[in-house]
Symmetry: C2
Subunit: 165 residues, 2 copies
């Protein structure tokens, strides 16, 4: 398969995958493009490669920076900003885990916690409510702990863990 075809295929697939995990398509595509770039590139390059507007490019680049998975670079004698992605996949996974944990697991844990002191007249439904939300919280806490360990470890730790299984 020719490079250009493979590249487009990968960018497209990465966009689609992102979409089904709640990440907007353009954001994932910009990330894919940067993963493949041998050197850091400008907003103009991204606009041109993905055929998107300046506003769209700018917003999604910023979102990627907020997620901590790409970064700005300044080149000597250049006024433009350049961007590059971290090519270390383990680092990427760690960063994504960290952010999703913070943005999504923590809020649901907070709600599950708040909701634990429920009261009411129907014994059975109260019991069921506490049981289900309690189980959910227990499970979430376990996942949360695992992710915490994961985000603080190196790829080696994860690799060993997989072996132990």
């Amino acid at each position: 398969m020719e490079y250009i075809e493979a590249k487009n295929k990968f960018i497209q697939a990465w966009g689609t995958l992102g979409t089904s995990w709640g990440i907007n398509k353009t954001m994932a595509q910009i990330h894919a493009l940067l993963l493949l770039s041998t050197e850091s590139i400008t907003t103009e390059d991204i606009m041109q490669e993905l055929q998107i507007s300046r506003g769209n490019a700018n917003m999604n680049i910023r979102a990627l920076i907020d997620w901590g998975i790409i970064e700005k670079e300044h080149k000597l004698g250049e006024r433009k900003e350049f961007f590059k992605a971290d090519k270390d996949i383990w680092e990427l996974a760690r960063q994504v885990s960290k952010e999703r944990r913070r943005r999504e697991i923590e809020p649901i844990l907070r709600v599950l916690d708040q909701v634990q002191d429920v009261s009411g007249t129907n014994e059975e439904e109260i019991k069921e409510f506490k049981q289900v939300t309690g189980d959910l919280m227990g499970f979430s806490l376990k996942i949360d702990g695992m992710l915490d360990k994961f985000t603080k470890s190196d790829s080696n730790w994860f690799y060993k863990m997989l072996l132990k299984l």
Copy 2:
């Protein structure tokens, strides 16, 4: 906190969480409602509780059944269909992992595989392309293997794994 308030809060939070993980809000809310129900309920009940249309209820109930996380029940002497959720959170996690693996990880693995035999004139970009997509595939395969093991094990295995860490 009063039961009705806690219930609504939980349903709302579950819907929001679903949304940020690419699952539609109503689908997640129906699931939350069923998790809290002490007995199986009808489409009418769901429509009434969540204030949604029949079509919407029907479509999302079907989606939940497709995901394998709720099921139909027929009651003796009743023509209506009743629905109930599996209350076992481990089972839920296992089922969701299984489905997402099939729907999302497998497709991306297929693309990464296809794209491996890339060719072109620019040595550096080909090398980088192979490196990045190869790493990504390696990582995805590891996650895939872990999920496979997870979906085929019982909660006890997972619990032990967490202890070993």
